[in-house]
């Protein structure tokens, strides 16, 4: 990394001369020297969470639940076990995973007001907004205001349930299957499912409007 100094105007943190980059480099160097850490293991972890684990995993779970009632039942019973059926496993931060079903009368959304707990095996690492003070402070006290900022205004009469991940339980929302998707197969359905719909700050849009949200 040294020597890339002038390339890093946009991202000061990448410059080893700057605070956190230099500090973590020094700590890693020390831990490797002491034989406590294998740099290759660190690389593998980064690769896993940067490239292999992410919301596409959760989308597969949702799509399966939409097409397979038996799977949906086991997902709602114990999501940490059920996700094995789609080739996932309850890894770090998903050991105690619970799926929350959205219906025509109940909408669920998930937050961690105390830190940023998030179901890694199905959604990957959380986006910055999920970890922000704005979301953590308001999701419990002004959830409809937050949803409005996400472009979601729930119909009157829909009960809003906010889940604060204050312990070791992790939550994913099972969004409603949009109308007009009867002809789609599981894979096509999975492509419609967004990360935010599994946090509960969005709903899954019908195919015509798909791709509008993240």
């Amino acid at each position: 990394m040294s020597g890339k100094h002038h390339d890093d105007h946009d991202h000061d943190h990448n410059a080893p001369e700057s605070g956190p980059a230099l500090r973590v480099k020094a700590i890693e160097t020390l831990l490797v020297e002491k034989g406590l850490v294998d740099p290759k293991a660190l690389d593998a972890l980064v690769d896993t969470y940067e490239n292999k684990v992410g919301p596409r995993n959760g989308a597969r779970v949702v799509a399966r639940a939409w097409v397979d009632p038996a799977f949906k039942a086991s997902l709602l019973e114990d999501a940490a076990v059920a996700i094995e059926e789609v080739g996932l496993a309850a890894g770090p931060q998903g050991e105690h995973l619970t799926a929350l079903e959205n219906t025509a009368t109940v909408h669920n959304m998930v937050v961690c007001t105390l830190c940023s707990c998030y179901p890694w095996p199905v959604l990957g690492l959380p986006p910055v907004w999920y970890k922000s003070a704005a979301y953590r402070s308001r999701a419990v006290s002004d959830p409809r205001g937050v949803l409005h900022e996400f472009g979601l205004d729930l119909p009157a009469g829909v009960e809003l349930r906010v889940w604060d991940s204050s312990a070791e339980l992790r939550y994913m929302v099972l969004p409603m299957r949009p109308a007009g998707t009867e002809h789609l197969n599981e894979e096509e359905l999975a492509a419609l499912v967004t990360r935010d719909s599994m946090i509960g700050t969005a709903i899954v849009a019908a195919p015509t409007a798909a791709g509008a949200t993240k």
């Binding site: 040294s2 991202h11 943190h13 990448n14 080893p16 956190p20 500090r23 973590v24 480099k25 700590i27 890693e28 160097t29 020297e33 002491k34 406590l36 850490v37 294998d38 290759k40 293991a41 660190l42 593998a44 980064v46 896993t48 969470y49 940067e50 684990v53 996932l88 496993a89 309850a90 890894g91 770090p92 931060q93 050991e95 105690h96 007001t113 105390l114 830190c115 940023s116 990957g124 690492l125 986006p127 910055v128 922000s132 704005a134 999701a139 959830p143 409809r144 937050v146 900022e149 009469g157 829909v158 809003l160 349930r161 906010v162 889940w163 604060d164 204050s166 312990a167 070791e168 339980l169």
Partner: protein, 323 residues
């Protein structure tokens, strides 16, 4: 602690700002911090509750100014030093060497060694690290070597193997010890008005409010003690349902509920609440109150240890971070 991290219900942070096409990591230091913290936690140099507790100890202004991974780095460094895994002077020396561009030729190693010599008190960092490990015996088996675990972590992206490699993750925070639950789904409860200076996972906004037990999640390690090395204090953890108006007042919109996962020591039956203040009420109520006041001191409960059918993982009190 009543810290800045306990944000539920606070005002003034503005709208939720989203980033379009957000990358998983925004800088290389985030990648390294994430992976290092995970591996060190997996090798049980410190547990997830200690980690969260350490982030919460960040000075409030610094906490608000720091990015997520800057908070991780702060806590990670702090714990490595406190546990004797590395010394602050070592970090300073290597940082200086890296700044001077000496990282590649190993000059900083000599510098570290030279700097190590006069540090008699620590008796060498490896010994301190050893001690840190022994401290953790109370909450886990430290027999497996770090290198084995990192090798396994390296073996692939399989999530379960990864979890195992990282020390079992949060799975190990749910225990197979059996305790008769004090509450059952449907019970009305009140979240205690606790204000500990130490770590707690009872959010301020829930304290003193009435709720209903929604679900019993089983027996978990108690973070308030686990974060301070004073034991796992296993107890049931429940999803507790609070009405929006119960939490935020009668003018709050109807049709909202907030579910908070709360440990048994955070909860009382409503009639048990003793504010500790003399209030005008009937003699009978006072009598009841003072009587029950004794029984809800933490740890003083009469919890029956009766075998239940819950099956879970080892009692080794480890976990992965997710601050």
């Amino acid at each position: 602690m009543n810290g800045i991290h306990d944000m539920g219900g606070m005002h003034g942070f503005g709208p939720v700002v989203r980033e379009h096409d957000e990358p998983v990591f925004h800088a290389e230091f985030e990648r390294r911090t994430f992976a290092l913290a995970l591996v060190m936690m997996g090798s049980r140099r410190f547990n997830v509750d200690e980690y969260r507790r350490t982030i919460e100890r960040m000075p409030p202004a610094q906490y608000l100014a720091a990015s997520y991974y800057e908070k991780w780095l702060y806590a990670f460094e702090q714990l490595l030093i406190e546990k004797g895994v590395v010394a602050r002077h070592e970090i300073d020396v290597v940082m200086a060497a890296l700044r001077a561009g000496a990282a590649s030729n190993g000059a900083h190693r000599a510098a570290v060694r030279a700097n190590d010599e006069p540090q008699g008190s620590g008796a060498g960092d490896h010994n301190s690290a050893e001690m840190a490990q022994h401290e953790n015996v109370a909450v886990g088996d430290v027999s497996r070597a770090t290198s084995d675990e990192t090798k396994t972590a390296h073996a692939g992206g399989d999530s379960a193997a990864l979890s195992e490699a990282l020390g079992g993750g949060a799975r190990s925070l749910r225990l197979d010890q059996s305790y008769r639950p004090r509450f059952k789904p449907g019970d009305r409860v009140i979240a205690r008005n606790l204000n500990p200076e130490g770590h707690t996972r009872l959010p301020r906004y829930a304290r003193g409010h009435h709720g209903t037990i929604h679900r019993d999640w089983g027996v978990f390690v108690f973070p308030d003690t686990h974060a301070h090395g004073t034991g796992t204090k296993p107890q049931h953890c429940y999803a507790v349902e609070f009405g929006g108006r119960e939490l935020w007042g009668k003018d709050h919109p109807a049709g909202e509920r907030v579910y908070v996962d709360l440990w048994e020591d955070y909860l009382d039956f409503p009639l048990e609440v003793d504010t500790g203040e003399a209030q005008p009420r009937s003699a009978a109520a006072r009598k009841h109150s003072s009587k029950s006041g004794k029984s809800h001191k933490p740890g003083a409960k009469s919890r029956t240890t009766k075998p239940s059918r819950r099956v879970a993982a080892k009692n080794d009190g480890r976990g992965t971070p997710n601050p």
